[in-house]
Structures are given as C-alpha cells and as structure tokens.
Symmetry: D2
Subunit: 152 residues, 4 copies
Amino acid sequence: MSGAMAGGDDFEARCRESFGRQEIMRTFGAELTVVKPGHAEIEMAFNPALTQQTGYMHAGVAATIADNAGGYAAFTLMPPDSEVLAVEFKINYLAPGTGERLRAVARCVKCGRTLGINEIDVFAVTGDEQQLIAKMQQTVIRVDKKPELPGA
Amino acid sequence: MSGAMAGGDDFEARCRESFGRQEIMRTFGAELTVVKPGHAEIEMAFNPALTQQTGYMHAGVAATIADNAGGYAAFTLMPPDSEVLAVEFKINYLAPGTGERLRAVARCVKCGRTLGINEIDVFAVTGDEQQLIAKMQQTVIRVDKKPELPGA
Amino acid sequence: MSGAMAGGDDFEARCRESFGRQEIMRTFGAELTVVKPGHAEIEMAFNPALTQQTGYMHAGVAATIADNAGGYAAFTLMPPDSEVLAVEFKINYLAPGTGERLRAVARCVKCGRTLGINEIDVFAVTGDEQQLIAKMQQTVIRVDKKPELPGA
Amino acid sequence: MSGAMAGGDDFEARCRESFGRQEIMRTFGAELTVVKPGHAEIEMAFNPALTQQTGYMHAGVAATIADNAGGYAAFTLMPPDSEVLAVEFKINYLAPGTGERLRAVARCVKCGRTLGINEIDVFAVTGDEQQLIAKMQQTVIRVDKKPELPGA
C-alpha cells in the first residue's frame, strides 16, 4: 500500500529489492529506514571497521550512504524497469562522523525523464539528538534495467 | 630518504603512519602504493563485499579511496604535526567500477597554508590496462595534530 | 537597527558597503534585496545583455548572483574587519533562466571561524510566481580585511 | 578544413555560430580563441565593469567563461543539430582574478551519447606568463536543437 504510485508501481518494494542487492550496505550494517515518494533515509550504527585515522567514521562512509539515499529518493519517482546510477555528487563536511549512528536523509529536488537532482543531509545521531555532519548535492541518471543482470 | 623534505620531514613515513590508523582501508583491502611530494596513489582489489545493486563496486568505494588519496597528496606538503581533513569534494562517474583492481591517483593542484586543492583520477585496472572511471576535485584543510587523539 | 548584532556590528551596513563596491552587480543590474543573519537575497531583472545562445540568461549569471548571495549570507555572521572570498561552489541547473527576474536566496548552513558553508537557491520570477532554476552548495573563507585595498 | 569531422560536420563553424549568439560573451568582451576536437579556449581582457568588492574579476566571470569553454569542448564532439546545456559544474578558486586577461582552457574528459564531462582550467594571463586561478569540473547534456529558436 504505502509503496504504490510514485513510479506507477510499488516503488517501496522496488527500492528495497534493489537495496537488498547491495553487498556494501550489508558490510556497512546500513538499513533503508524510510522510503516515500521523492524521499529516502538510510541509517547505520557507528562502525569501528570503517574509521579514519583519528577514530571517526571516514568521510567516504557518509558519502556512500548519502549517495545511496539520494539514488533511492529519485528511484521512487522513476518508472518500473528503471535502474538509477550516480552521475556525480558534491559533499561538504561540517563536523566529524561521531555519534551512535549515522543517518542520511535524501530529498529529490527534481526528477526529470533522464536526470534526477537530489539533496542529502547526513546526521550523527546520539539518542534523540542529531547533528548535521555533511551535506550533499547529487545528480543521478535513469537507465533501462537490463533483463538479467550478471550477479544480480 | 625518499620521503624526506616535502613537508620538512619524512613525509612518506608520516603518510603511511596515518594511513595505517585507518580501519576502513584495512576493511576495504586498500594499500597506499605511491607517496611522492604532492602525489599519492591507493589501490585495492575488486571487493565483492563492497558492491552495489548491479554487481559493480559501489560509487562510494571509488569516492572513499579518491578522497583518501587526495588527502595524502596534500598531506605530503604540509608541515609535521599537521592533520588533514576533507572540507568537501565533487566526483563524476564515467564508467562502472569493474576490473580486477581500483587505483586512485591524486595530485595536489595547490597547497596553501590552510587549504589544499587536489584532483584525483580513479581507474579500473585489469592486467596492464586501466580505464578512467571517476574524477574528483577536492578541498582539504590543514589542522594542528592533537598531541593525543582519543582512540588513535 | 535591523543590521546590528550578527557579526557584532551593523552587519547589514557592512554587507551593503561591500556589495556597493562590486562593479559587476551594477553591470548586471542586481540589488541586494534582503540581508538577515545568515541569510541574503539578490535580485536582478532579466538582462538581454547577459543571454546565452538560445536567448535565456546564461548559466554564469545565476552562478554569479548565487555565489554573491552565499558570500553575504556568511558575511553577516563574520566579525567586522573580515573579507569573504569564494573557496569553491557547485551548482546544478534545473530549468532555463527565463522569467522577468532572477532571485538568489542564500542560507548559511554553517559558519565557523575560518570557513562558511552555504546553500543557495536561484529562482526565475514572473509576477508572483517563482520557479527554482538552480541550486548551489558553496564554501567560503574568511580573511582579514586589508586596511587599504587598492581600488577599494 | 580545420573544423571538419569531430561531430561529423564543420564543428568549428558550429561552435562559432553558437558562441556568436551569446550576448553575454559580447558584454564580457570574450572571444572563442581555440576550437579543436574535445578542446576549446575562451579569452577576455580584464574588464573593470565585472569586478568584485576588492577590485579583482568576480568569481562568477571565471565561472562563466569556464562553463562556456567546457560546453564548447563537448559540443565539438556532438552530432550536428545538437544543443549543449550545462547540467552542473563545480569550481575551485586558487588565486585572485588579476592580470591583463583571463583564459579558460577546456578539455572534454568523456563525451557519451547524452552526457559530457569536462575539466576546465582558468588562468590569469599577463604578457607571456599565466597563473592558474580556478579549476572546474563540469557535466553537460546534449539535447536536440530546436528548428527555430525564439530570439536565435
């Protein structure tokens, strides 16, 4: 129910199926927590296997979940049988990656026939408090999903 | 010997010591293969634990090693007792993350007293061939290294 | 009155004085319409002298007023005797630069001692309607204002 | 002769015709000095009508000619009856916009069927010397040229 309509189908199931095929999300311990039309959220616990030289979560971790959240925010608005790929993104780091969890909150600013533009905020979350630690602006492209993907 | 001078000390040892403290590089299976003044390279084998939904290396993996390579390229030119942090970066994806290995090649375009600007190419490498798959432009900042970092 | 306090002085007067020294804003016919703590807006009429090859306002025009609005949004929060300079920005174009006017609306996301991070929306405005045509994420740096600037 | 082949036609004439329709280039006093396959250069004299608050050329001026040079670098490789539009760009500023002239030198890193990725260096030129003052990474999109453009 909740997933129906945005891309003309059960977009939530489609996003979750795609997310489930991402080995990197399993490795990171990340979950797709929220999927709504033009909106997606990903969360993961602080992971000591992914730290940089001063003990914080590496900048690449925030970038990875932000990129993913943005992709799925746009993916909700795309027609079935689409695949979404990152064209490019830009991310600013505002504070260190600390806290109990990281949360990436993505909003699709514009989703056209070919390109989607998204903005994504990444928060360090501790208990009920969250601090903005990174901000991404991203461009994604829709491509036709191939009937049988190798390894899919 | 080879590491002396750029930042007024053995910059290569300093880069390798910092790199060795990055748990994420161990998790990714990445190595700091080349360190020269204003230049750094990182390589890693294709890692099935880090794939996206179509079986390629996730965009965030290329971003992570590119960000790191850029940071160390600038770090070679910074004075001892510096720490380098990512301010922001922008990355374009040109081709899927396939191949036997990924290689990030970073060049420091400008390193001032406070900020460093780097450009980083990421290649998919198979045997003797390499294909450009991503291109990053990055800004880093120098901060004073804290005498004793928690968890370092 | 309205301008007091943000940077510990009459920040609005300070912004307007700086803006008044920008010949390019006079050439573009642009005005600094709103200045509040961490917020600035710039507007200009559609200017046929600044069009691109298909008759729309050139992408560089939106970039210029967005860059400026972002700089002043951060500038409001900086101490007196600061100068603000662009480190870098990234801008996405969402729709053509049409309409009667362009309006850039900037918000300072974070203003630290050295760096400021801003997000800026650019709208094409016709009558009471406005359409988002571009979105910028920007980094600026605070430098000490020189006592006597050549040509200032 | 020199312009034949890249996009399957006289791409140089096509670039110059498009450039000639840009009123902003006339206003800036900018010229398209070099057009080769996947490469374009734009130059303009220091223009006191386009300065920022400290008397240098405004950051938006470097961004405008860099964006344009990048667009034409990709345009040389596109089929006839294409129009090229900016999707997004990111630019870092390395030094102030001084000197007698500004020169933007663009190289198309990849030109696919839909998207082109370009890198552009902007130099401040004085006599025979040039200094790198800005560096851009840009994404453009090919669209079909409309038979009759309003105002074209």
